[in-house]
Amino acid sequence: MAKIVFEEVTKTFPTKDRKNRRNKEEFTALDGIDLEIGAGEFVVVVGPSGCGKSTLLDLLGGLTRPTSGRILLDGKPITGPGLDRGIVFQQYALLPWRTALGNVEFGLEATGVPRRERKDRAREFLDLVGLTGFEDRHPHELSGGMRQRVAIARSLAYDPDVLLMDEPFAALDAQTRESLQDELRRIWQRTGKTVVFITHGIEEAVYLGQKVAVMTSRPGRVKEIVPVSFGARGAGLQGEDLRSSPEFARYRHEIWTLLHGEVARAQQLEKEEATV
């Protein structure tokens, strides 16, 4: 059974026209999204900038409601935010006045885990993301990669079924990003969470996803869903070995071809907007 189902989901925003206010236009961010995500699946959504990827995630997180259509989680429509979904933000969203441990505990406080248990659980999850020994550091004393590890630990600690990740590695340097990608796959395999991962990086999408949903430029639609499976991964290939395999190159090219026209169109749209 599918864990998450998007049924004809459309989201529009009212826009304010600066020149004449009476002309109320609507900005369509997402237009008729249909998507099914199975339990325990790792799905990557990739698309050009401004295609509504983040809106998709906000809808899943219950931070906004669809204009029409519905999103089902375990067969029930999403009506608001909940602790059955954990969000990892691009900007880490760590509380700067709390230590790494305190930040992980923050998620647990919302679920009503008893105080003593919280500390142990938080330590356990910091250990899972490889941050043992950094429990008492404040966010400003941690590197970008470490901060994102803390944020991932926080989202995992309160044990949501679904992990929603909004370009979590976009602000990191290439080496850190690659090591975190491996780490994320390892964590996913160990915990069996359903992961919805948003990115604009094709390599990242191919490397991480079991399924890659390619989106069109505005208004956002799902253009195609590409199932990704590597024989090579089965053989234990990882990192650069996998990235340089012919299979990987083929997938990358396939998605690049799907995206290419969309990216050009998105840029054209942006230009038109800037000149108006």
Binding site: L83, L95, P96, W97, H138
Partner: protein, 329 residues
Amino acid sequence: MTTNVTTPATDAPAGQETARADSAPAAPTAPASALAEAPATGTGAAPASRAASPGAGRSTGRTGRAPSAVRQAARALGRWLRAAAVRSAALVALLALWETAPRLGLVDATFLPPVSEVATAWWELLGNGQLGQHTRASLARSFGGFGIAVAVAVPLGLLIGWYRPVAALLGPLLEVFRNTAALALLPVFVLLLGIGETSKVSIVVYACVWPVLLNTISAVGNADPTLVRLARSMDLSTPRLFQKVILPSSVPAIFTGIRLAGAVSILVLVAAEMIGAKAGLGYLINASQYNFAIPQMYAGIITISAVGVAFNQLLVTIERRLSTWRVPA
């Protein structure tokens, strides 16, 4: 603070030299120089022993590294002494100038008596309990008003800041109030509330509310939107959101407002006490001037400076304690 010390000299009524005899007894120079040097030696010596003792302790513990530990302690001590000298130099210079200028006849010693005489007067006032009584009266009003203002302004600011339309609506009005000098409103307060304690505490409350309120409102408005989104995504209720996200992130900005209010509370109170009061440091200064007890007047002024500096230092310490997490700039 230094301006406070010097300006009243020009305000003092000129041409009343009859009272000179009782206000300018020829004091020996010895206590003066002792007083001028006291801060330098006093502050220098105490930490010196403090800095030296751990070094000594370490050297006995680990004999192999003893010489380097001693040298390190000595270097730390030297650095500390130099820092202390730099920090107190200007203050010492001011005191020296204050002592010598009247003695050399550069200024009229009637209106600006040497600092040693002021110190004697201060000591007498302390001895006969007057200083304690006036300081207590002032502090009660000042802290009372300050406390009420903080207790009212912080929660109010959090509320106004959270509801953006309310903030937009009240913003201009608050700006007008803040920029209306509190002392300009003192006559209004006296008319409405009389010249008793109520009007004095009220004017302190009034003057202290604005910096705290406006800083709190802007702190809430500047709270990191991603953190708010995070809290929302975790389905935190609004009171929880305030308790766990908005309030802690606002603490540094709120404290800036509180520190401003601390300075304002003393400033406004002293002025209010000069106009209508029977006790308090402002009253002491004003009454001393009327009775031509000039050293006593300066003693009052110095006490106010000391209270102001101490209060500010206290607030700075609390602020530092509460915002250690901030990224060092």
